[in-house]
C-alpha cells in the first residue's frame, strides 16, 4: 500500500516535470533543435574544424575544447578507484575462489579472444578522432579483456603494480603535454603541433596523443578496480 502510494506520488512528479518542460521558451521542442543559437554552432563551423583537425566533433569537444574538464573527470575516476582499493585492502589477501574448474577449451580460447579484444581496443583508441569511439570506450574494452582473463582462469592474478605504474605514467604525461602547451603556445592544453588535413590518421595535433593516454589510464584504472573486487581476506 505504501509502495503503491509512493509510485503514484513519483509518477505525478514525473508528469509535473513533463508539463513544466513542455511550455517554456528556453526549452526547445523535441526533434526540432536550431543549432544557430547554441554554442555548438561555433564547434561545427568549417574554419574551426580545419583548425582543430578532428573529423569526429565529439572528440574535438572532449579533448580539444574541453580538455581541462576531461582532466578533472579522469581525476574523479582515479579518486574512486583509490577509494575502492582503500576499502578492499587486507593484510593477507587471496584471489576470490569461484569454485569453477576451467576446461582446456575455455583456458586457451579465452587467450585468443584476449588478443582480438586488445587489437580492437587499440584500433578504437587510435582512430578516436576519425570514427566513433576513442579513449573512454577503448580503455573500457581493455578492462573487459582483463576481466575475461580473470573469469577464464581461476588462478589468474594480473600484475596490479604494473597497472598502477602505467596509470601514473599516463596521467603525468597528460599533465606534461598540457604544460608543454603552456610553454610552447599560450595556454594550458593548447594544440602546439600542426594539425594536418582533416580525415587522415596522422592529423589533429595533440588530440590522438592525449586520447591514447586517456585510454591507457581508464583501462588500467577499471582493471585495477576489477582486481580489487576479486580479492578477499585470507581467513586462515
Amino acid at each position: 500500500m505504501k509502495k503503491l502510494f509512493g509510485l503514484i506520488l513519483f509518477m505525478g512528479l514525473g508528469v509535473l516535470i513533463i508539463l513544466a518542460l513542455n511550455n517554456t521558451i528556453s526549452f526547445p521542442k523535441f526533434g526540432s533543435v536550431d543549432l544557430s543559437d547554441r554554442v555548438a554552432d561555433a564547434y561545427l563551423d568549417n574554419d574551426n574544424v580545419s583548425e582543430v583537425g578532428s573529423a569526429n566533433i565529439v572528440t574535438a569537444i572532449v579533448v580539444g575544447y574541453r580538455g581541462f574538464d576531461t582532466l578533472g573527470e579522469v581525476t574523479v575516476l582515479f579518486i574512486s578507484a583509490l577509494g575502492v582499493a582503500f576499502l578492499f585492502s587486507f593484510k593477507k589477501e587471496k584471489r576470490l575462489d569461484l569454485k569453477f574448474k576451467p576446461n582446456f577449451m575455455l583456458k586457451h580460447g579465452s587467450k585468443l579472444l584476449f588478443g582480438i579484444m586488445l587489437v580492437v581496443s587499440l584500433y578504437i583508441i587510435t582512430h578516436g578522432h576519425l570514427t566513433p569511439g576513442g579513449g573512454f570506450p577503448g580503455g573500457a574494452i581493455i578492462a573487459s579483456g582483463v576481466l575475461l582473463l580473470y573469469l577464464a582462469d581461476d588462478k589468474f592474478r594480473s600484475n596490479i603494480k604494473g597497472f598502477k605504474v602505467l596509470e601514473g605514467v599516463a596521467g603525468s604525461l597528460f599533465v606534461i603535454i598540457g604544460l608543454l602547451g603552456l610553454i610552447l603556445a599560450t595556454s594550458f592544453l593548447e594544440n602546439f603541433i600542426a594539425s594536418g588535413t582533416v580525415g587522415q590518421l596522422l592529423s589533429a595535433g595533440i588530440i590522438p596523443i592525449i586520447y591514447v593516454l586517456i585510454g591507457l589510464k581508464v583501462g588500467s584504472e577499471i582493471a585495477s578496480v576489477v582486481d580489487n573486487f576479486l580479492t578477499e581476506e585470507e581467513s586462515a
Binding site: L13, I17, G31, R38, L44, A81, L87
Partner: protein
C-alpha cells in the same frame, strides 16, 4: 516520445532509491536514474533531419548535425558512473561484512 520515457525512467529510479531498504537495490535504482538522465540530456540536442556529428569525406556544407555538446558531456558522465557504482558496491560489501546483511532494517536492530 523517448524524452518522456527518459523523464519517467528518472522518476522511477528516484522512487526505487526512496522505497527500497536494500543497499544493492538502491545502487540498481541509482543506475536506472543515471540511464534516464543520460538519455534525456542527449535528447535535448536531437534533430529529426540531423546526422551524427562526424564529418565524412563526402559530407560538405548544407548538412544538419545533431548537437555534439550533450554527447560529449554524457560520454564522460557514463565513465564516472562506473567509478561511483564501484565505490558504492565497495561500501555495500564492507557494510555486509559488519552486519551480515544488505538490508538497512537489520542494521538498525544490531546497533
Amino acid at each position: 516520445m523517448i524524452q518522456y520515457a527518459a523523464i519517467l525512467l528518472f522518476v522511477l529510479g528516484l522512487y526505487g532509491i526512496f522505497i527500497s531498504t536494500n543497499t544493492i537495490k538502491m545502487l540498481v535504482s541509482l543506475n536506472i536514474l543515471e540511464i534516464g538522465l543520460n538519455i534525456f540530456i542527449i535528447s535535448i540536442g536531437f534533430n529529426y533531419q540531423g546526422i551524427a556529428p562526424i564529418l565524412s569525406s563526402v559530407s560538405d556544407t548544407g548538412l544538419i548535425y545533431v548537437d555534439p555538446l550533450p554527447q560529449a558531456l554524457v560520454l564522460t558522465a557514463i565513465v564516472i558512473g562506473v567509478g561511483t557504482t564501484a565505490l558504492g558496491l565497495a561500501f555495500a560489501k564492507s557494510i555486509y561484512q559488519k552486519y551480515q546483511s544488505f538490508d538497512l532494517n537489520d542494521m538498525e536492530e544490531s546497533l
